[in-house]
């Protein structure tokens, strides 16, 4: 029996899916164009899926020539999990934000406050407004 060829399409496809999964937080989230909608990641996922499907056809259709009958299904399942998890987080979990219907609207006066800054110094909204033309007030989730 001849030695069967390494089924590279499976592994390259899986590598692309893993890259697509990890690259959002470490890279693509830094740029507005790839952060607001994860085009780049979905593209990597698609390319990965095409390669994995090719690999599966080789593993099962041309099993005399190619390896991958065991690794194929495992890598496919792992890829499906990664893509599924990514889509769940991006398209569902990140959109689970409160409506905040009571938040101040344009035309309303911004509620006063005094809070401590990073140097433990109290800063009020009036302090921020004094001597400036406008204030951009950002609320964020925090680093914890």
């Amino acid at each position: 029996m001849t030695k069967r060829t390494w089924n590279w399409a499976l592994w390259l496809g899986f590598a692309l899916v893993v890259t697509g999964f990890l690259s959002y937080t470490v890279f693509f989230a830094r740029f507005a164009a790839t952060r607001d909608f994860p085009w780049a990641n979905l593209l990597l996922f698609s390319a990965g899926v095409v390669l994995i499907v090719t690999g599966l056809f080789r593993a099962f259709g041309k099993s005399r020539a190619y390896r991958g009958k065991v690794s194929g299904p495992i890598l496919s399942a792992l890829s499906a999990l990664l893509i599924g998890f990514f889509c769940y987080v991006f398209f569902y979990q990140l959109r689970e934000v409160p409506l905040s219907v009571g938040a101040p609207r344009p035309g309303q006066t911004a509620p006063q406050f005094t809070l401590r800054d990073q140097n433990n110094k109290p800063v009020s909204l009036a302090d921020l407004l004094s001597g400036s033309k406008a204030v951009v007030l950002i609320f964020y989730r925090g680093f914890w």
């Binding site: 989230a29 507005a32 952060r35 607001d36 991006f90 990140l94 959109r95 934000v97 409160p98 409506l99 905040s100 219907v101 009571g102 938040a103 101040p104 609207r105 344009p106 035309g107 309303q108 006066t109 911004a110 509620p111 406050f113 809070l115 401590r116 800054d117 990073q118 140097n119 433990n120 800063v123 909204l125 009036a126 921020l128 407004l129 400036s132 033309k133 406008a134 204030v135 951009v136 007030l137 950002i138 609320f139 964020y140 989730r141 925090g142 680093f143 914890w144």
Partner: protein
């Protein structure tokens, strides 16, 4: 960010993080604007921006939001994102400010 400062616009950010944490973060990230600490989420509640149980261990935190407040304390623009990953860009804020200046100037 420099452009905002050059135009007389101040930036301040609010979260539930402690002043110590904010000190570390501002040093690490090189932030020069105030990071304000609202550990009891009192101000966050006042602005109706509380995201219940979304923090570590089910803690209440702020949902992301941006406001442009003019010198008289009136809100001129609000951005309440419906996706945590999507935030306002400095350019957007500048555009609103430019429009605000051009209408209040005459």
């Amino acid at each position: 960010m420099q452009e905002l400062a050059a135009r007389g616009i101040r930036v301040a950010a609010v979260s539930v993080d402690s002043p110590e944490m904010n000190h570390r973060q501002s040093q690490r990230l090189g932030y020069t604007f105030p990071l304000l600490s609202d550990p009891t989420a009192e101000v966050i509640r006042r602005y109706d921006l509380l995201h219940r149980g979304a923090g570590p261990g089910g803690a209440d935190i702020a949902r992301p939001a941006e406001f442009l407040i003019d010198s008289s304390g009136v809100v001129r623009w609000v951005n309440l994102t419906d996706n945590i990953a999507v935030r306002a860009r400095p350019g957007e804020v500048l555009d609103v400010f430019n429009r605000m200046e051009s209408t209040s100037g005459d």
